[in-house]
Symmetry: C2
Subunit: 314 residues, 2 copies
């Protein structure tokens, strides 16, 4: 696949360029449902407007701690399983060798798979994306006490577009906190309003870039000038709350996290919902495709709501 | 000088050991003034009791922004001065080569020197240390936007005892914020109550350890077990506030700071006040002494208050 700088004009979001260029105004809706479908719920207009303005929504204590504990236990089981730990789906911390991320969680575990189809989360994802949806990627990010290193500022969409061929901004991530996220254990930080801009990044994508980038991202990193301008304009927010809290954030919202300086582990679960009308093509700016556990292509199955009481369903 | 594990029993705070050992209960007072001198001010009994409990006191907006701006300007002047930048007193960031710390500020600049003798700060230092005091060390720590790396958890006293021969815990640091310190630009974090314990550290001090340790500390770092226990017991606090805010923290309070993930620079000024009754001896656990700009020995001049209106002084 050709690099972006050799692309035809048809790519609205060119990136991995030879030379810096200014941020490009977003060309896609943020809430894709059009009125009156937009008002069919579950999110009300205040929430939708906040999401359009900020690029994320925070639901403190969305689930109970009791409800999410089993997921954290499954992560610990993976950490103790040598076969899993040597799998490509498990990304280790560059400094310590301990688990940093596990990808494809919804294929590993029925419990995770059912959670991706939780009626409330799936309902919000469908409303925001204005269509049926499927899971583009799922993962757990884990930071051990005093050890977990951070993630530099980036837009997920920039990578998914460049390396996975996701055409447009029509995806949303749901992040569920499996532990408390507090000021000191490296919570997710976001730049409100940054999703309104696509920041083209400089640097050609190396082959199999993902093997390095999932440990420490070097390519697909916005310039300090762009970050400064967006952070000075929108500020920075770091939602905090107990295990079970939920963050929905738009695929192009700039986010990062700092090191865990505390004894308290920080573990978050991520599901990426993509619209079935936004299926990946060939990568826009990478020589080869990434593995299926990073970017679903073989089986983009539209999700059906999971109902624990199917006998009551209509 | 012999290493600590070869020391006689007389050292109450052995460190840089071959093997781990448990934390030792502090053997020195925290507030050294004895009643009724203790109550002669300027700190009242509530403040003194908080300092005894937590190991620090936070004065939000102690100086006006206007008052501290010139100090930040002097730092920028040093950053633009090639001679200074090649001096040993200027410590550079291991990743970026930009200023991380400048030592001996009170010898470089009259403005800084007079600030160390500010009547209010000097009055508090004398009250806490129960004697006349002098400047053991002064420095600026600087973190550029998106660049400044962090400092791992440590006790200053541990290093000053091991490498500078400071006998007892009878020193206090005053940190004055030259920029706003907020959640995202790597503010100082402290473990309240940690100053009640001396945590012996494992590892022999290399010769000229300071050349590496001021960039990234490897020796004199408490074990994760000790840190966990103290942080789980006392929690973590990160005082935040505008430029001009003041932090007083006891020499043995564990502290750290994370990376600056924001576009906003973070710059703090430090003066270390040591009691004239606590003058350094030979290092307790290091082969050689550190340079004078890290540990004053040649001219421990007791400080006189600086009065901008000497004609009004008694």
């Amino acid at each position: 696949m050709a690099q972006a700088h050799e692309q035809p004009h048809s790519d609205p979001y060119p990136t991995r360029l030879r030379q810096a260029r200014d941020a490009i105004e977003r060309m896609d809706p943020i809430v894709h449902s059009r009125a009156p479908d937009r008002w069919a719920g579950p999110l009300d207009e205040v929430a939708l407007s906040n999401y359009e303005r900020d690029g994320f929504l925070w639901f403190k204590g969305f689930f109970s701690r009791h409800r999410v504990e089993p997921f954290f236990d499954e992560l610990k089981a993976i950490a103790n399983d040598k076969t899993w730990m040597s799998s490509e789906q498990v990304i280790r911390d560059p400094d310590t060798g301990r688990i940093r991320s596990v990808f494809g969680m919804h294929r590993i575990s029925r419990r995770f798979e059912e959670l991706t189809r939780d009626a409330r989360i799936l309902g919000m994802a469908r409303q925001l994306l204005g269509s049926d949806v499927y899971i583009h990627q799922s993962r757990i990010n884990d930071k051990f006490g005093f050890e977990g290193s951070g993630f530099d500022w980036h837009s997920d969409f920039e990578t998914w577009h460049a390396e996975d061929g996701m055409p447009r901004m029509r995806a949303v991530s749901a992040s569920i906190m499996l532990t408390e996220n507090n000021e000191f254990n490296g919570p997710l930080m976001l730049i409100p309003g940054s999703h309104h801009w696509f920041v083209p990044c400089v640097g050609k994508t190396p082959d199999q870039n993902w093997k390095a980038s999932l440990k420490a991202q070097r390519i697909g990193v916005p310039s300090q000038e762009s970050l400064s301008e967006l952070a000075r304009s929108g500020g920075i927010r770091a939602p905090k709350g107990p295990a079970g809290s939920l963050l929905l954030f738009e695929c192009n919202t700039l986010h990062a996290s700092n090191e865990n300086m505390s004894p308290w582990p920080r573990s978050n679960l991520f599901f990426v919902y993509n619209s079935v009308r936004n299926l990946p093509r060939a990568p826009y700016a990478a020589p080869t495709r990434r593995p299926h556990f990073l970017a679903e292509r073989e089986n983009p199955k539209q999700l059906e709501m999971h109902d624990r009481y199917p006998e009551l369903a209509g």
